[in-house]
């Protein structure tokens, strides 16, 4: 498996596209800044959102049980899934009992996390993503490169040719409006023929047992409302205590995510449709493991707005597919290594620790601190090469012994004054590939000594 650094290097080979990707994503961050200014005390609202989340996470059992009780009372069926396997089995079981063949889906990062589509397709079901961006990448059998803007890595011309190949739009037409209309016509057929609709959940309200789904395209409303059966996948961290807490999050979500005052649709589903079924699957899948960690539990505050991706220069210049985990960028790098240090230890290092992510996060997850923490664990878990450990061991030893450190500094100076810079650059690994070493002038000790001698 290629690591982030290699995948990023590949992505950067098409420099023009990488710069275009950076500009597109950065423009979303700039919109966020503008829209956030419209709120009287955006920073105060972030504090409040963080506190509500911390409170909920530390009383999660109570709120989940209340949610279940109130949802059941509304005729919503509630299922508990401890991991991805259980989640997929529950969904398939519901589909099977209803004799379903065609499944439509609105956007759900949780369904990506548990690889639901793959599972259902293997069981012989047709699964169609109805979010435009998700549908585009589904045609190409790709994963989302961004949690809110899943096809942000594709240019309009590329989308045009994907549509030409898959739904027969004219070759060479990359007009966004035209393509959107074509997608709508294509998806309308799928909506009408669907037996089951699967959605995600932005918030589950404990007090009322209802779920809330926020989207921009209206596809989730059709997904949840048209087929006889609606299955909503909800991570257990998505519960909020009361309706009154919702406004805090809806005010922050769209502003932080895309720089909109609100999502175009904020839909509350509080009961099954007449004659239909509604199921909510509450999924743990390692969330309780996070909850038990004194630092990492804060990552569960995430409301999946993607602001940390938009602000992250490493994400912007390396693209979402450079990260091996399904969620890229700072929040993905905070979540993934905890699931498996072996598979994802590189993600905590795909970061310059600039901490911009922690500053934009609407629920104040200390993302840079979490990545810092992962790094300590990654090295403990021997996920770093022996050679590197050895080199670091030598430098650390010198730093701990003043005379050794002095000697090391002096020999470095001597060496760099003696050997031509071009030769040193050849041996300075990743450094010398792109940069020269600094010119060596007089060291501080030498300058101080000179000054004393002059006096």
């Amino acid at each position: 498996m290629k690591r982030h650094a290699e995948l990023a290097e590949d992505f950067l080979k098409d420099k023009e596209k990488a710069l275009w990707h950076n500009d597109s994503v950065w423009s979303v961050r700039k919109k966020r800044d503008q829209l956030a200014l419209e709120i009287k005390d955006f920073e105060g609202l972030k504090d409040l959102a963080s506190e509500i989340k911390l409170h909920t996470l530390t009383h999660l059992d109570e709120y989940l049980e209340a949610f279940e009780k109130n949802a059941l009372a509304r005729g919503i069926k509630v299922h508990w899934a401890k991991d991805a396997k259980e989640c997929n089995e529950i969904v398939y079981d519901i589909a099977r009992k209803n004799g379903a063949k065609n499944v439509i889906k609105s956007k759900s990062m949780l369904s990506e996390e548990v690889h639901l589509n793959h599972y259902l397709e293997k069981k012989g079901l047709e699964v169609v993503e109805t979010d435009l961006g998700e549908r585009i990448i589904q045609f190409e059998k790709q994963t989302p490169s961004h949690i809110v803007l899943p096809a942000i890595h594709l240019k309009r011309e590329e989308v045009g040719s994907i549509f030409h190949k898959n739904i027969g739009t004219p070759k060479g037409n990359g007009n966004p409006t035209f393509l959107t209309h074509a997608a709508r016509a294509h998806l309308r057929e799928k909506f009408l023929g669907a037996d089951v609709g699967i959605s995600g959940v932005n918030y589950g309200v404990a007090e009322t047992g209802e779920i809330v789904v926020c989207t921009n395209e209206g596809n989730a409303d059709l997904t949840m409302g048209l087929p006889k059966v609606h299955i909503a996948l909800m991570g257990i961290e998505k519960v909020v205590p009361k309706l009154e807490h919702l406004s805090v999050f809806t005010t922050l979500l769209a502003r932080s995510a895309t720089g909109q005052p609100s999502t175009v649709y904020t839909t509350h589903i509080a009961a099954p449709r007449k004659g239909g079924e509604m199921h909510v699957v509450l999924v743990d899948n390692d969330r309780s493991k996070f909850l038990g960690d004194e630092r990492l539990y804060e990552a569960l505050k995430c409301i999946r707005c993607g602001a940390c991706l938009n602000t992250c220069p490493v994400y912007r210049y390396s693209g979402g597919h450079s990260y091996n985990y399904i969620i890229p960028g700072p929040i993905g790098s905070a979540l993934a290594p905890f699931r498996s240090y072996k598979n994802y230890n590189d993600m905590a290092f795909a970061c310059s620790l600039c901490a911009s992510c922690s500053g934009v996060c609407p629920v104040k997850i200390p993302l840079d601190r979490l990545l810092f923490h992962h790094r300590q664990s990654a090295v403990q878990e021997k996920a770093v090469s022996k050679l590197e450990k050895l080199m670091f061991g030598f430098v650390s030893f010198s730093m701990l012994h003043p005379s050794m450190w002095g000697l090391l500094n002096k020999s470095a100076l001597f060496f760099m004054r003696l050997v031509p810079m071009k030769l040193i650059n050849l041996f300075s690994m990743g450094w010398g590939k792109y940069r020269d070493l600094p010119n060596v002038d007089k060291s501080f000790s030498e300058l101080i000594k000179e000054r004393k001698e002059k006096r």
């Binding site: 982030h4 650094a5 990023a8 290097e9 950067l12 800044d33 956030a36 200014l37 920073e43 602000t311 220069p313 490493v314 210049y317 390396s318 290092f349 795909a350 970061c351 310059s352 620790l353 600039c354 901490a355 911009s356 500053g359 810092f372 992962h374 790094r375 300590q376 664990s377 090295v379 403990q380 770093v384 450990k389 670091f392 061991g393 430098v395 650390s396 730093m399 701990l400 003043p402 450190w405 470095a412 100076l413 690994m429 990743g430 450094w431 590939k433 792109y434 940069r435 020269d436 070493l437 600094p438 060596v440 002038d441 007089k442 060291s443 501080f444 000790s445 300058l447 101080i448 000054r451």
Partner: protein, 245 residues
């Protein structure tokens, strides 16, 4: 600060002395341990952090001042990770440790320099991320604020006559140094650095001033390799221009 940027260290020393401060150097000092910490070498980092904390706690001084924001951020924000939050000796050290700009503006509260400092130059300012986002030397763009205050480096540069500060479009963007990040993720680091230098070019600046030289190793290395011709100065160097006259 010792090997590559001796001049910046000397300028800091001379500036403090000129302001009437008795400056004592810690001869045993090596490093604050940030390299090990950010690389995730927890055991090594912990030992170096303890040595540093002991070395400086045992000095009979009123303040510990460093001309490097990232080192001060290490001491202020990251040391508790290794030493524990409630460690009394550490808290004493933390409370008396200041980054140079903070020390000049918040502790000494200087409003002018005791000599005619003059730097006839057009410059642009680079904040390293830790100085910006951990020490708040300037206001971060992520923070949603209706009004913005001037950064501390700019405030100090304004004490120098004849200088002109050129603004950047997106001054907060990380330059991509990030310690070992610059080697481990060299390709991304390179494009981040070049984009940052392009911002400085667009501002028409040929001279970059910072309160931290760590990013300079990377930026100057890129400037040299790509023949961009930038000059780099630590803010202390600019502040001492004209001191000898």
């Amino acid at each position: 600060m010792e090997v590559f940027y001796g001049k910046a260290s000397l300028a800091t020393y001379l500036l403090l002395e000129k302001l009437g401060i008795e400056v004592v150097l810690q001869k045993n000092a090596s490093c604050c341990g940030q390299i090990q910490a950010n690389r995730g070498c927890r055991d090594d980092a912990e030992k170096i952090v303890k040595k540093f904390a002991d070395d400086f706690s045992n000095m009979d001084v009123d303040y510990v001042v460093s001309p490097s924001g990232s080192c001060v951020s290490m001491i202020r924000e990251t040391y508790p990770y290794y030493l524990g939050k409630g460690n009394d000796d550490y808290l004493k050290l933390k409370n008396k440790t200041f980054e140079l700009c903070e020390f000049l503006l918040d502790v000494l509260k200087i409003e002018k320099l005791p000599y005619d400092a003059s730097a006839p130059k057009e410059v642009s300012v680079h904040y390293n991320c830790h100085a910006l986002r951990h020490l708040h030397l300037s206001q971060r763009s992520e923070q949603v604020l209706k009004e913005r205050r001037e950064g501390k480096v700019e405030r100090l540069l304004n004490l120098v006559s004849d200088i002109k500060i050129l603004p950047l479009d997106n001054p907060d963007e990380c330059c991509g140094f990030g310690g070992t990040f610059s080697v481990k993720e060299a390709a991304v680091s390179n494009v981040m650095g070049l984009s940052k230098l392009k911002q400085h070019q667009d501002s028409k600046s040929k001279c970059i001033v910072s309160a931290d030289v760590s990013c300079f190793m990377h930026l100057a290395g890129l400037s040299s390799r790509n023949k961009l011709g930038f000059e780099f100065y630590h803010v202390a160097e600019i502040l001492t221009w004209g001191m000898g006259k």
